[in-house]
């Protein structure tokens, strides 16, 4: 009895399944996004932050997705190194740039939320600082992979880096929080959420998460196509270079 991941291990099988699933995922994301934006637009102003609390509806989900995407990279890396799951490297490679984009969004929206609230575009509080370091971890993964010619080697080295990063991540988060309480008493950056604001937040979170998975699946499909192209071109080169040797025999 094969598990889901075992059945997906064959790239061709993955392409078949994802081809059927992806349009549904896009549709789901679009619906949730429409609902979430409507809820966000009609949400009442917060008694402390006014309408700028609406920024939280994109900032908090972005930060959550940034961390979830890194967990996905780490899980895919584990699958590559331990189970030699062939589609695992595709998953890790696809997730990193999208995760980095959401991390950047978390930083930008967090900064825009901070300016009206705290007067500065950047504040070194625990959450923003941790997200900034997470961004650096993503950059490291992408930079390492692109610095190595051999794609298989690059995939496995990046996998080790991702796993090391995920082990260090709780330690980094803890040290940043500890540092933050030393230098400023807790800022309570969006600590309590009024119940009437919870629904837009959850719907937007669901929408952006669905969007992330749709984009991840699309990126995986692209990567599988890219690898097919490469292996076909390699076969073509091999054939072309072996042709002259065969002619004298005819």
């Amino acid at each position: 009895m094969q598990t889901v991941t075992q059945r997906l291990a064959n790239p061709t099988r993955f392409m078949q399944l994802s081809g059927a699933l992806l349009p549904l995922l896009w549709a789901l994301a679009a619906l949730l996004l429409a609902a979430g934006l409507t809820l966000a637009a009609t949400a009442p102003p917060d008694y402390q932050h006014g309408h700028t609390v609406k920024i939280m509806f994109v900032h908090v989900p972005s930060a959550w997705i940034a961390m979830m995407a890194y967990a996905l990279v780490a899980a895919s890396s584990f699958g590559l190194l331990v189970f030699r799951h062939p589609v695992a490297d595709v998953s890790a490679k696809a997730a990193a740039p999208i995760g980095a984009a959401f991390t950047l969004l978390a930083l930008v929206t967090g900064s825009l939320w901070g300016k009206p609230g705290w007067g500065t575009y950047w504040v070194w509080d625990a959450r923003l600082t941790s997200v900034l370091i997470l961004f650096f971890l993503y950059l490291g993964l992408i930079a390492l992979r692109s610095s190595i010619e051999d794609a298989a080697l690059a995939g496995r080295l990046t996998a080790v880096l991702a796993l090391m990063g995920v082990i260090m991540l709780p330690i980094i988060k803890y040290s940043v929080e500890w540092w933050s309480t030393l230098h400023q008493p807790s800022t309570g950056f969006g600590s309590t959420v009024d119940p009437s604001l919870r629904r837009p937040l959850l719907v937007m979170a669901a929408a952006l998460t669905a969007l992330f998975f749709a984009m991840h699946m699309k990126a995986m499909r692209n990567e599988i196509l890219r690898r097919r192209v490469k292996s076909l071109m390699l076969t073509e080169v091999e054939r072309a270079s072996s042709r002259p040797r065969r002619q004298p025999a005819e």
Binding site: H51, R228, E236, E250
Partner: protein, 63 residues
């Protein structure tokens, strides 16, 4: 929609989200189209994968 005195920040935040997501989506679609085109071109040239039938000797033309 009146978003109060700090409206520009709210619009900027949602705008940034829209821009980044749009860039991602466009890149994903364009990349997919590009790879599919390359595959179609290679297929038209008769390139076969190693797991498929072995190619005929040159000079006999495509099957």
């Amino acid at each position: 929609m009146d978003l109060g005195p700090n409206a520009v920040f709210v619009w900027a935040a949602y705008g940034a989200v829209a821009v980044v997501l749009a860039i991602l989506l466009l890149w994903l679609i364009a990349d997919g189209v590009r790879q599919q085109r390359k595959l179609d071109r290679l297929d038209a040239e008769g390139v076969r994968r190693r797991s498929a039938r072995p190619p005929t000797a040159p000079g006999e033309g495509r099957e």
